[in-house]
């Protein structure tokens, strides 16, 4: 560790609303950005060909670790943090579908203790199940509508509404797949047909109804269907407090790309949709209807994947995926700053502990001194050996992203990403 009290980084800086040449000074004692000003030609880090972003935030990951430790063979908070840093992610929000699920204050606090090992800040969701009650603490919640991985799910809309009625005014994220439609299609031949688009669209309508009726601050997770997006757009226009995530896999892959070789590797919930859905999702991410890139990082071992378990690990490739959006889909640096940094920062702000200043998502004095520095000229060829997630594989293996993460800065501490 350097003894210097300040880290100074100069270069091209992108906030969600402004892109400029400038200098950032981070006080390494407080870990906060102290100063943003003009370039003076004395940067502690080389940033040629790079864009300096506020540190990226991934609002949807499964780090797998809980007090039982029974899933730690897939991932834990340390390996998860390594994968995040590799992908340029400075804070994450971890889902509650653990064997010992954080559904009350005590279990939540116990899981929170485990996150201290993580170098990147971890916000924990608390789980909502048929029998749960809100915590005394102010935390974000997650409701799984239908069966996925774990036990926190509902069998019908009625059962879900009964539970949600206790969570009036809370911040609730929804996994939108209607359990009855999944049940009706469970014998269809492919994974994609067993979990059809109609399951997500019906569940979206119901989630929006619950958000409105119970004054929730709602978030729809890993959104995948073009037709559902129209409903979200209408709800936003009506003034509902609802935001929406999209994953790299739903933006990058669609069902037309499935082959017998990759089918098992690209199995996740919700599944890949058609090319039209994918194009609609990219457009919605660009125009602001979709608010966040959140990975749904879901590590499973290679053996498990070959058995047909759903979920893909994506933290390692978060930052390089952003460069793909810039090169392939003309996202501006400001667009990236919005969906990868600013909006995720807004989401977690009210849940952050003291000491992180104004929080994440902006390069401004008073905000956390965490940066993601993307190198737009150095491609990243994804290999199994290069990823740091414990499950040690990536759905992007063999693909070469146009750019890469050069540095991830965590509260003034520099981590070389590659």
């Amino acid at each position: 560790m350097s003894l210097a009290k300040k880290l100074r980084v100069e270069g091209r800086i992108a906030n969600y609303d402004r892109e400029f040449e400038g200098a950032i000074e981070i006080d390494t004692a407080t870990g906060l950005i102290e100063y943003v000003g003009p370039i003076e030609g004395r940067s502690d880090l080389p940033t040629d060909g790079c864009i300096i972003f506020p540190g990226f935030g991934d609002l949807h990951i499964h780090a797998r670790e809980d007090v039982s430790g029974s899933q730690c063979y897939k991932e834990d908070f340390v390996t998860n943090s390594n994968a995040a840093i590799h992908g340029g992610v400075v804070h994450v929000a971890d889902m509650p579908n653990n064997p010992v699920a954080p559904i009350d204050d005590e279990k939540y606090a116990a899981k929170e203790l485990l996150t201290q090992k993580s170098a990147v800040h971890v916000t924990l969701y608390a789980g909502i199940g048929p029998q749960t009650q809100p915590l005394k603490r102010h935390v974000p919640y997650k409701a799984f509508m239908g069966p996925s991985v774990g036990d926190l799910f509902f069998r019908s809309q009625e059962q879900l509404e009964t539970a949600i009625a206790n969570y009036r005014g809370r911040n609730v994220s929804f996994h939108c797949e209607d359990p009855e439609i999944l049940e009706a299609n469970k014998n269809a031949p492919t994974h994609e047909q067993r979990r059809p688009a109609s399951a997500e669209i019906t569940a979206t309508e119901f989630a929006l109804y619950l958000i409105e009726k119970y004054e929730l601050i709602g978030k729809l997770c890993h959104y995948s269907t073009g037709d559902g997006l129209k409903k979200i757009s209408a709800a936003k226009a009506r003034g509902l407090r609802v935001t929406c995530e999209a994953t790299p896999h739903h933006l990058f892959f669609d069902d037309s790309m499935l082959t017998e070789q990759n089918r098992l590797w690209l199995q996740m919930n919700p599944p890949l949709r058609g090319p039209k859905d994918r194009i609609a999702l990219i457009a919605a991410l660009k125009n602001g209807l979709v608010d966040y890139i959140a990975t749904d990082h879901a590590p499973h071992t290679i053996e498990e994947k070959l058995k047909g378990i759903s979920g893909v690990p994506l933290l390692d490739t978060y930052g390089s995926f952003a460069t793909w959006l810039m090169t392939e889909h003309n996202f501006t640096a400001r667009d990236i700053a919005r969906v990868c940094a600013y909006n995720p920062g807004l989401f977690v702000r009210e849940f952050l502990p003291a000491g992180l200043g104004k929080g994440f998502g902006l390069i401004e004095p008073g905000y956390a001194g965490s940066l993601t520095i993307l190198d737009l000229n150095t491609p990243y060829a994804v290999t199994r050996e290069s990823v740091r997630t414990k499950c040690a594989w990536s759905p992007f293996e063999g693909y070469t992203f146009p750019g890469s993460v050069r540095y991830t800065v965590l509260n003034g501490n520099v981590h070389q990403a590659s």
């Binding site: 609303d17 943003v36 009036r168 005014g169 004054e215 936003k236 807004l346 104004k358």
Partner: protein, 308 residues
């Protein structure tokens, strides 16, 4: 800093620590309200809203704030015509008597300086709910709270104040708070006859705030983070002809709204007449209804601060 007894002018609210305290408190109240878990810290206390000038919205907002905190409300809606004022009673007497019944007073008056004069003799906390063309500090605080909430309280904000800057009391109250932001840039957009009064211009100059004046909105549309538009107030004009001539000089419609920066916000203290087309309401930049809701929570935070 010493706890404030009365809230009369925005200049009392320039302390960042106090602002932060009130903003955190307002956010907490909003959360608790949505969760229906508000405690009733002001149970048994009474707010009197004495309005010598009609303002249904401000009055209801104060009364709702008090009731949500468990307190009671005494209300004099048209105090100018219906109370003893009509019989010639002085405001001083009215305050002395009402303060015997109420624990806090929200006063709206048609004369600038009325609130300050009333506070001098009021034994209970008095809140200025607008005094003529003077100030409206709770509105200004709610406006800053809205800007912080929506834009994160940034350095280098570009704020366009549009419309009636001469009589627009919300603007006058907001300016000193805006000046606290490092690097803030202010566009003053108004017809020549409704320019910002010289004393506020001088204040901006003294504070070294970067500002420009214009009678055209055009230049501000692409650069502004905040567009704050005011109603040209009919009641401030001597003749209807004068009012008619300039009432609709600035109108924000969808075409203009869509040209604003993606994250810019449109603010308005409401009520609006034609300044913002209804079609803009569904634009994500339209912050004015959220702004009105924020005012409720700010007033709750203030009442709680003054009384709890």
């Amino acid at each position: 800093m010493q706890k404030l007894k009365h809230i009369i002018s925005t200049t009392q609210l320039l302390n960042r620590k106090l602002q932060e305290h009130l903003f955190v408190s307002a956010a907490q109240m909003e959360r608790d309200d949505a969760q229906r878990t508000l405690s009733r810290p002001l149970s048994g206390r009474i707010l009197a809203t004495i309005f010598y000038e009609p303002s249904t919205r401000t009055r209801l907002s104060f009364e709702a704030a008090m009731q949500k905190l468990g307190g009671g409300v005494l209300t004099a809606e048209n105090a100018r015509d219906s109370s003893s004022a009509a019989k010639g009673e002085s405001i001083a007497d009215a305050i002395r008597v009402i303060s015997g019944y109420a624990d806090v007073i929200a006063l709206r008056h048609y004369e600038e300086g009325a609130a300050k004069a009333a506070a001098k003799i009021s034994p209970v906390p008095l809140i200025n709910a607008g005094d003529g063309i003077g100030e409206h500090p709770t509105q200004a605080l709610a406006d800053i709270y809205t800007i912080e909430k929506e834009l994160g309280g940034r350095d280098g904000l570009r704020v366009a104040l549009v419309g009636d800057l001469l009589y627009g009391r919300t603007i006058h109250s907001l300016l000193p708070l805006l000046c606290l932001y490092p690097g803030v840039q202010i566009d003053l957009v108004s017809p020549a006859q409704l320019r910002l009064p010289a004393k506020y211009i001088q204040h901006l100059e003294r504070q070294g705030v970067h500002f420009r004046e214009s009678d055209k909105l055009g230049a501000s549309i692409k650069s502004a983070d905040v567009i704050y538009i005011t109603r040209v107030q009919k009641e401030r004009f001597a003749s209807p002809q004068e009012y008619e001539a300039i009432k609709d000089v600035y109108v924000i419609d969808s075409k203009i709204a869509d040209k604003l920066k993606k994250h810019a916000i449109i603010m308005h203290a409401l009520p609006r007449v034609n300044e913002i087309a209804p079609e803009v309401d569904s634009n994500s930049r339209a912050a004015y209804f959220r702004q009105a809701k924020n005012a409720l929570y700010i007033r709750m935070a203030l009442l709680n601060y003054l009384l709890a």
